[in-house]
């Protein structure tokens, strides 16, 4: 979109990221915590893409490295997505296993590592 400054996207990303962080701290159900982590990842993705689309001032604007930077941002997003997928698969598997052992998945009761 042409009329939108970069600040808008970054602000949205920042807000989503913060929300995710708060969620991780605040919520007790590990699934929701996972969701919040996904939220953070997506905010980072948004930031990547925004920076890929908006070239900062003082950026060396030869077509090569413009294209390169656009591509770099999108590649990062792709990798983040893949990693997130793997993480979710394994993480939810872990949650299922835990749930199978003990009948609830309150994260505050997974404190076997207490000193």
């Amino acid at each position: 979109m042409n009329g939108v400054p970069l600040a808008a996207y970054i602000a949205l990303g920042l807000f989503m990221f913060t929300t995710g962080v708060v969620g991780v701290i605040v919520r007790k159900s590990p699934i929701v915590i996972f969701m919040c982590i996904e939220l953070m990842l997506n905010s980072v993705n948004l930031t990547f893409l925004a920076f890929a689309r908006y070239q900062m001032a003082g950026f060396n604007k030869t077509p090569e490295n413009i294209q390169h930077s656009m591509m770099a941002g999108q590649m990062m997003v792709i990798f983040v997505m893949a990693v997130a997928a793997a993480e979710v698969a394994v993480g939810l598997g872990i949650i299922m296993a835990i749930f199978r052992l003990r009948d609830n998945v309150d994260i505050d009761e997974m404190n076997l590592l207490r000193g």
């Binding site: 979109m1 708060v22 893949a82």
Partner: protein, 179 residues
């Protein structure tokens, strides 16, 4: 017709973006705020969908659609699935007791937002998207992404594929009772 507010000219695109972004932000808050895991998941789905739309506005249509396929179509379905499975076991894990940690966390979160925003955002209000020449406009399409992915980023790509394989194996090992 475009009046400026705080050095930012209000354009129809900006308003539209504001609508989408606001909805996304509300959904993000909803993810955290809803006590009910399903509702959180639903909010997250909507959020991701709106993000996909934003990706389109950043003319990364390939990634936008990938976002929908991967997140909305696969990951969140997985979430819903698991939430429901656990919900069968008893809905006690869905409602939570109040907790002093909440207030501290929210406070710190706001602090983080304020500090980072105050540092970063003012520098970016003037940065506008660069005009797209037709050949640059192609740089969100499947062809460009495919070329780059398989030429320049092939090693990370392979590494990620191995990672996914490991994820598959690991999740099967975790999920199966008797192998």
């Amino acid at each position: 017709m475009n009046q400026t507010v705080g050095g930012v000219t209000i354009t129809p695109e900006l308003l539209m973006f504001g609508a989408i972004a606001g909805a996304a932000a509300i959904c993000a808050v909803g993810v955290v705020a809803f006590n009910n895991a399903i509702r959180s998941a639903l909010c997250l789905v909507i959020n991701f969908f709106l993000l996909a739309v934003l990706y389109f506005t950043l003319n990364a249509e390939m990634l936008g659609i990938t976002q929908v396929v991967v997140y909305t179509g696969a990951i969140m379905v997985l979430f819903l699935f698991v939430v429901m499975l656990l919900n069968l076991g008893g809905s006690k894990l869905l409602h939570e007791k109040p907790d002093p940690k909440k207030f501290v966390g929210i406070l710190l979160g706001c602090g983080l937002f304020v500090i980072l925003g105050a540092q970063i955002l003012p520098q970016l209000t003037k940065v506008m998207p660069m005009p797209l020449s037709p050949e640059l406009a192609k740089f969100g399409g499947p062809e460009a992404i495919g070329r780059t992915l398989f030429s320049e980023y092939v090693y990370p790509f392979e590494a990620v594929s191995v990672l996914l394989l490991i994820g598959i194996v690991g999740s099967i090992l975790l999920a199966k009772r008797r192998l």
